[in-house]
Point group: C2
Chain length 502, copies 2
Amino acid sequence: MDIEQFRKAGYQAIDRICDYYYSLQERSVVSKVEPGYLRQHIPLEPPEKGEDFQAIADDYQKFILPGLTHWQHPSFFAYFPTACTFEGMLGDLYASSTCNPGFNWLASPACTELEAIVMDWAASFLGLSPAFTNASGIGGGVIQTTASDSVLATVVAARARYQREHPDVKLEDLVIYTTSQTHSLGSKAGLVFGVHVRAIDVDLDDQLSLRGEALRNALEEDARIGRHPFILIATVGSTSSGAVDSIPEIREVAKDYPSLWVHIDAAWAGSALSCPENRGVLHLEDFNAFADSVCTNFHKWGLVNFDCSALWVRNRKNLTEALDITPTYLRTKHGDAGTVIDYRNWHLSLGRRFRSLKLWFVLRGFGVEGFRTYIRRCIELNNLFAQQVKTSEHLQLVTKPSLALTVFRLIPRPVSPDQPKFSLGPLNELNRIFFGRLSARDDIMLTQTSLNGIFCVRLAVGAARTTEEHVQQAYDIVSKEAKVALESWEQTANTAGAIIVA
Amino acid sequence: MDIEQFRKAGYQAIDRICDYYYSLQERSVVSKVEPGYLRQHIPLEPPEKGEDFQAIADDYQKFILPGLTHWQHPSFFAYFPTACTFEGMLGDLYASSTCNPGFNWLASPACTELEAIVMDWAASFLGLSPAFTNASGIGGGVIQTTASDSVLATVVAARARYQREHPDVKLEDLVIYTTSQTHSLGSKAGLVFGVHVRAIDVDLDDQLSLRGEALRNALEEDARIGRHPFILIATVGSTSSGAVDSIPEIREVAKDYPSLWVHIDAAWAGSALSCPENRGVLHLEDFNAFADSVCTNFHKWGLVNFDCSALWVRNRKNLTEALDITPTYLRTKHGDAGTVIDYRNWHLSLGRRFRSLKLWFVLRGFGVEGFRTYIRRCIELNNLFAQQVKTSEHLQLVTKPSLALTVFRLIPRPVSPDQPKFSLGPLNELNRIFFGRLSARDDIMLTQTSLNGIFCVRLAVGAARTTEEHVQQAYDIVSKEAKVALESWEQTANTAGAIIVA
C-alpha cells in the first residue's frame, strides 16, 4: 500500500468508525455468534498474493464487527467499562504511525519525556502526593499495560526490597497478601511467582473491606509460623463490589511492619479521585501518606483507550534496582549519566508503546473539568439505578452502591411477616435463573459475581454514551426478568418444597 | 469531541501521517533534542478546561515529532527494525475504535477467533509444525506484547511443569539456561522470578552459537551440585550478532533431559522463516521436532506494528495449568464447557488488545509473496553492505553476516607484514572513537555491541523504505568516519606508544 492508497483507506476507516458510532445504539450489545463462527468465513491459509485493501476492510465489516461485544454500547453495564474516546483513538493512531518501542530515552526522547510529564499531570489531578511524581526525582509514574502488569512489576520490586532487608529468607516462605475480594491479579501473581498468596477473609458487615485487625492477626500468625508476607495488595474499589479496604487502619498496622510493601490497586476507582468529593471515601489522604505504590487504569474508567495502566511508586529505585539490566547494545551516554529515565527498567518487558500520547490527548481534550463531569455523570446514573433497586419490590442491594457500581440480587418478598427467611442455596439458585435470563438477552449486558457465597448481579455504568434513558431501560429489563425468574422459580420450588429454610 | 469533529480530526491525522511519510527522508534519523527539552514547552499541570483538538494536534507536530527517533527512516540501521506498515496502522486503528479487552471469548468472540485462526496462518507460512497450531487442539498460538512477555509466560509454564514432575525441588535451586549472547530478557526473567540464570559461554569460533557439548557439560555440572535447570532459552538470531544456537545438537542433548523445556527465541529472525531458503540455517526442522515453545515478534521484522509477539506452544495445557484463575465474574458458559479458548489463561495479564486484526491485515495485504519479497530485499541489502565491509581496507566482519544484520569493526591495516597484531584494548578504544563519531551524526543510526569483549558496530536492515542507495550511503559514511577515527587514533596512540601490543 503506498501513501496515497493509505490516504484513501485511512479516510474510509475514519468514515466507517463514524458510521459505527452513529449506528452503535441500534446494534445488539452482545454478539449473537456461536463459537467457531469465524472459521466458516476465513480460509485456513494466508493468501499467496497480496489482496486489495478494500476487500480486507469490507471483510472487517462483514465478519469481524458482528462478532464483537460492543463495550461502547450505551447499554453495556458488564465487567467494568473500557474507555474509548476519539481523543484516545487519535492518540493511538499518531503513536502507531511512527512505531517506536521507546525502551530508553534515545530510542525516542519524546516518548520518555511526555510520559514523565503527563504522569505528573495525572498524579496532580487525581490528588496524589507530590512524592509520587517524576518531578520529585525519587518517586515516579510509569504507564504499564494492565493492572496485572503493574502488580507484577510491583511484586518484583517489593520482593527484591524484602530480600535485601532479609537476605536469609527463602522464596518458599514469602507470602503475597490479598483479600478474598482482591481481583484475580492477586492469585495470578502468586502463580506467576510461585509464592504463597494469603487471601484474608473480609465481611459483608464491613462492606467487604479489609480491616486493620484482620490484617494484624494474619501478620502475627504468619510471623509465628515463619512465613514472610512482603506485599499487601490493598484494593480501593474492588471488581466484584467496589469495596474499599480500610486504608487508615492498614496504615496504622503498617507502622509496625515497615518491610511490608503496600500496593494500592485502584484500577477502576482511581479515576474517581479526580473529583475532590470522592477522595475521602477512597482514603486518598491515607494512602498518599504511606503506600509504596498506587495503580489506576485510565483505560477502564479514565477515558483513555486500552491499554493505559498508570503506576506510581514512592521510590523509583525499588523498581530499577530490581529490574535494571543494561546490555551493551542498550547503553547510551544519557542513560549512563543518569540524566534521563530509561523506562525499560520500570517494568517487566523491554519494548513499549507510546501510550502517554493518548493520555495527553485525553487530558487536554477533556480538561480537568470535562473529566470530572464524565465521572460525576456515571456516578449519578448509577445512583439512579441503585435508588430504584432500593425501593423495588423484589430486588435488594447486596452492598452499598460504590461510585458507579451497583451489586444486587433478587429476593422474594415474604408471603407473611412470620415466614422464615430464605436460605442461601435456593436464593442463589433463583439468582442464577435470574442472571441466566439477563445474559440470554442481547440488548443489555451485565455480569455476575459472588460475594462471600452470595450470587449477585453487577451493573457498572461507564460507557460514554450511556444516558438516563439507558439506565432506566436497564432497570426496566432487570425488573421484568426478575419477575419472570421469580415466577418460574416459585413454581419449581413450591413443587419441590425447597423454598423455605430458616 | 463529537462524531463530526472526530471525522475532521481523523482526516487531518491521516493527511499528516501521509505528510510524515513524504517528508521522512528529509528528516534527520536521530532527534536533536537534549534531555529535558519537552518540559520547556508543556505546562506542568493539565488544563482546567478542555482544549480544541486542533491545538493539541498542532502541538504534536511542533513538540513531539521533533523529539522522535525515526525508526521508519530509510537510514535507520540501529537495534532491530520496528515494523510500521499502513496495513498494520489501519488494523490498529480499527481495533482501537471499538476498544475491547478480549480477555475471554464472550468479551468479544471475534477477537479470540481471529487470533486463533491468524496464528495458524502465521504458523503455516513460517513453516512451523502443525503441532503448534490452534487447530491441533493441543498446541496453540497466542499473541503477547513482547518477546520478554512471551518468555515470562513460558518460564511460568516451564516452572510449573517442572515442579509437577519434581515436587520436592526448591525455587532456590531452579536455573534458567541462556547463553552469554541471549537477549537481556533471559537475565531479566531471572530477576523477575528470583531464580538463577546460567549464561553458558559461547565461542566466536562457533559464530557464538550454543553447542551441544557446552550445554551437556553445564547440565551435568548442575546435576552434580543439586541445581535444577528447567528451561533453556535457545536463540535463533541473537540481538547482538544474529547468532543461531545449534538446535540439532541441543535436540540431541535434550533427549536425555526430558524435563528441560526448550524455548526458541526467534524474536527477530523468525520472520525470515517465511522464505524456505532460510529454514535450513535457522534449524526449523529440528526445533519443529522437539521445542516446547517458539516466539517471533512480527513487530520487529514482520511488517506488523508494535506490539505483536507471536508465541506458539506444543502443549497449551502447560500454559493454562500454570496460569488459569477463573473468578466468578469471569465465568461464561462457553468457557466452562471448554469449547472456546480463553486467552487470558495463556499470558500474565488479564486484559489484552485486539492485535490479531493488524496481523490479519498485514498477512492479507502483503500475501505470502509480498512478505517474502520484503524479507529477501532486506537480506540482499545487508549482503551488499557486508560485501563492501569484507573488501574494505580498514573494516572487518566480526561474525558472518546473519540474514539482514552485519557486525563489524574497524581494524588498522598493518604497516608492514611483520608488525605484531593489535591487542584488544587499543582496538576497542579505536572502535569506541569510531562509534562515537557515527553516533554523533544525525543522518544515520547504528548501534554498538560487544561480542566476547570485542567492541563492534551493528548494522541491521529493515525499514520498509530502505533502498540500495541508503545502504550505499551508509557504507560511505561508515567508511569515511572509519578513516577519520583511524587518523585521530593513530596520532594519539603513536604519541602514547600504545598501539602495538602482541
